[in-house]
């Protein structure tokens, strides 16, 4: 027999699964530390690529001067300076991404908790139903 209350709950849950829930469930599959470290790794790659792009643009901008001075400048010193800038830039970016993703993880978990409590309610409704049907089945 169709149970309206159950259908309403299932519809709500299916809508959640299709929209917001899809993203939250993908996050929920990870442990907190796994999820955040994966995202931070992606952030390091992003920051490295960005640094390379910007550096490339700036070198090409002053291409003639760079080519002239390339034999006169202290390569080690310039390399060290660039590395320092890279580390600071990547560090700040990764720190920001850590804060963003830990917030997102806790938000997703909270939302999933609500979803699981709906699941519990649903299973209770099924149990009620089967208990109600039992006497008829026996009789």
């Amino acid at each position: 027999m169709l149970n309206e209350e159950r259908i309403r709950l299932m519809t709500k849950m299916a809508a959640y699964e299709e929209n917001e829930g899809k993203r939250n469930m993908a996050i929920g599959h990870y442990f907190r530390s796994d999820y955040i470290s994966l995202q931070m790794m992606k952030s390091v790659i992003s920051a490295t690529l960005t640094f390379a792009i910007v550096l490339g643009i700036l070198i090409f901008y002053d291409f003639e001067a760079v080519m002239k001075e390339v034999y006169q400048i202290d390569l080690m010193e310039t390399g060290r300076k660039l590395l320092l800038i890279y580390v600071i830039f990547t560090g700040i970016y990764t720190l920001i991404s850590y804060l963003v993703y830990s917030y997102r993880y806790s938000r997703a978990k909270k939302s999933l908790k609500k979803y699981y409590s709906h699941l519990q309610t649903l299973s209770d409704l099924y149990e009620d139903d089967s208990r109600r049907q039992e006497p008829f089945l026996r009789g």
Partner: protein
């Protein structure tokens, strides 16, 4: 005001019912306008200028995710610039990549603002997007709108300096390249615009969160004033070439449109038809959940006075019928 609210309820109901057609149609229109505008302002690659190509891409955008539209718009821009000069295409592509890598990885949904901000700017209603972002978004939306302002400024710079760029020899690629990068890094107009837009988003966001009466309206007005003041001050200090008069004329329009958006979109609980499928041990369920339309029509008070003719002494009887009509419609 009551009529407007009733009208809003009707529109909400219509959207809820026909969402499946309205959303793709809106996306199609948005993609069409964006691509036509890109072709009009850049238009160096003749193949992309054909209406057929634009229509096919717009049609694809109507049912694919929003980010497809952004991607095609970016691709159109880069290809047009590539046909114009390789150096321009490289710099703009690098700019898009940096934006994507640094910011839009976090909030892919905000990418639409990069599309809409330049569009509003070229329609002379530049403040609409900062206002809308401040009203709906978070403080981080300031970055999205800022990115939109950067894209608008660089494209404007390139289309304004077409003749100068053309006059530079093909052999002197580095000089051309430097000219384009200067347009990106030493562009005071861009800096003033980004600063003004970001400040507007933050002011609007902060004020609309206050527990004031009419906080949203106050936020919009304050945001418009801040944006205008920032642009004027920036123009005075750095002598940017922002044409102030169209902005002054466009400001009330931006404000009015933001107010309209607040009324229709931001102020309502957004409801849409859901199509879901699930199953249990006994059934397959194919559910179409349509949001209920409840139109609260204004209460009617009918006052009727009838005189009774038969009485020798005429006497007035008053009957008052109070009818409250709140109907629910599906």
């Amino acid at each position: 005001m009551t009529n407007l609210l009733v009208w809003k309820e009707y529109l909400k109901g219509i959207y809820g019912k026909y969402e499946i057609y309205i959303t793709p149609a809106a996306k199609f229109l948005l993609a069409l306008i964006t691509l036509l505008q890109i072709n009009r302002s850049l238009g160096y690659m003749s193949r992309l200028n054909s209406l057929m190509v634009v229509l096919v891409v717009a049609l694809l955008s109507s049912f694919l995710p929003m980010n497809f539209m952004i991607l095609t718009a970016a691709l159109f821009i880069v290809l047009h610039l590539y046909a114009f000069s390789l150096e321009c295409a490289v710099v703009v592509l690098a700019l898009f990549l940096v934006m994507f890598l640094l910011y839009f990885r976090f909030s892919p949904k905000d990418t639409v603002m990069v599309l809409l901000t330049p569009m509003c700017c070229s329609m002379h209603i530049p403040f609409l997007m900062p206002l809308a972002a401040g009203l709906t978004g978070t403080p981080a939306s300031a970055v999205s709108v800022g990115c939109g302002a950067v894209v608008y400024s660089i494209l404007r710079y390139l289309s304004d300096n077409t003749s100068t760029l053309n006059s530079i020899d093909e052999e002197n690629a580095i000089q051309k390249y430097r000219y384009v990068v200067d347009g990106l890094l030493n562009n005071k107009t861009m800096l003033v615009m980004v600063g003004a837009f970001a400040a507007t988003v933050l002011v609007v966001y902060l004020i609309r969160r206050l527990s004031l009466n009419h906080a949203w309206t106050i936020a919009m007005v304050a945001g418009t004033l801040v944006a205008m003041a920032a642009l004027l001050v920036g123009d005075l200090i750095w002598d940017t070439n922002i044409s102030i008069i169209p902005i002054l004329i466009g400001a009330p329009f931006s404000l009015a449109l933001a107010k309209l958006l607040q009324f229709f979109v931001f102020n309502v609980d957004y409801s849409r038809t859901e199509y879901v499928q699930f199953e249990d041990d006994e059934y397959y369920y194919y559910v179409k959940a349509v949001p209920k339309l409840t139109v609260a029509k204004p209460s009617k008070t009918v006052k009727k006075i009838t005189a009774q003719k038969r009485n020798a002494t005429p006497r007035m009887t008053g009957s008052m019928v109070k009818k409250s009509n709140k109907s629910g419609m599906k």
